[in-house]
Amino acid sequence: MQQGKDDFLKLISENKGIIIKICNSYCNNKTDREDLAQEIIYTLWKGGKTFNSDFKFSTWMYRVALNVAISFYRVNKKLKNNISLTETDIEIEDKIFDATTSEENLNLLQQKIAALKELDKALIILYFEEKSYKEIAEIIGITETNVATKVSRIKERLKQDITNAKK
């Protein structure tokens, strides 16, 4: 049991970036993010037996984490909508970013991603994480052609929104 726990924590630690990015993309405040992170880890631990070793651990983790995040997002949609933009400056950003163009770009990108629909958000996160269209299709449950079309559409929208915001 202890060995299982250690292995699990090691895997989580190796793939922690996935959880952080998903929590940041789907939640705007610290409490929500922590709740979501807890729920993701709990679901991953409980669902460990559903992990199919034919898949990469990260692929399975993306499926579980995104499924939890999207469901969580739905429950907390009202709360999220009540948060003003100033409150969306998350603690992580305060700690890690200097007041540079890079910070502005990142904030902008995060804001624009946060404004996407849940499923579109999941898709673009996977794209940015350099998952192949085949893998994205497997995780989301749509065809590769559909993935390609949607990724292209969302990218265009993001580019346009970011360019407009910078003007």
């Binding site: 924590l9 952080i20 729920e39 631990w45 890690i96 990142l106």
Partner: protein, 220 residues
């Protein structure tokens, strides 16, 4: 703006996360302490909470059915209207219990490691299916107005035909109308919002919108 710029923005994000070692004891839940806390089951997923709520509802429903059975048996068919009404109410309660058991089984079947579309569709269906249970339950309404009927009353008192019978007729028509009109199609109607209560109505509306969104997403 080029694709590569977008990707670079995301990569910079990853780099910053690594540099800052965000996943520390203070700021994130990903640590041993939290993990042990999770293992004590203090933290339950919302789905598990829903399942527990429905299990309790099933237990209470069974107790209610037992109570009704005792009532029906205790009456020994002395008044058939009372007994038949109670038996029908009992049957509706059994239907409600069956619906809740179906929901519990649906929750158990939800496996987060399946594709996102499949899981989210199941979750939305689970949410919206509460409306089907509700419309069936309204059908029992007239039987709450018939258990005190008696043949003697019908034969000897005009008040039965002037008051009791029209009330039952009214509730029968109302129940049929509600059964026909409590549907996902009508969920935007104001009367249904009042009937469902704001919280339940909001959840069903979201589920309906979400199912539409999923279908739209699948179409591309």
């Amino acid at each position: 703006m080029e694709d590569i710029e977008l990707k670079n923005m995301w990569k910079a994000y990853e780099q910053k996360i690594d540099e800052a070692k965000i996943l520390n004891l203070q700021s994130w839940a990903v640590n041993i302490k939290t993990f042990e806390y999770l293992q004590t089951h203090k933290a339950q997923s919302k789905l598990k909470s829903l399942s527990i709520f429905k299990r309790w509802a099933v237990v209470l429903g069974i107790l209610w059915v037992v109570f009704l059975a005792v009532l029906a048996y205790g009456n020994h068919f002395l008044n058939p209207y009372f007994t038949i009404s109670v038996i029908i109410l009992m049957l509706f309660s059994i239907i409600a219990i069956a619906i809740y058991i179906k929901h519990i089984l649906l929750i158990q079947q939800i496996n987060y490691s399946e594709s996102i579309i499949d899981v989210q569709k199941k979750l939305a269906e689970l949410q919206s299916s509460t409306i089907n249970g509700l419309r069936i339950l309204w059908l029992q309404l007239p039987f709450y107005t018939t258990f005190f009927w008696s043949t003697k009353w019908m034969m000897s008192d005009i008040k039965f035909w002037l008051i009791a019978f029209p009330i039952t007729l009214f509730f029968t028509l109302l129940a049929i109308w509600l059964y026909k009109n409590i549907t996902l199609k009508n969920v935007n109607k104001k009367w249904l919002k009042i009937l469902l209560g704001n919280k339940e109505w909001t959840s069903i509306i979201k589920a309906k919108e979400y199912m539409n969104e999923i279908e739209e997403f699948k179409r591309g």
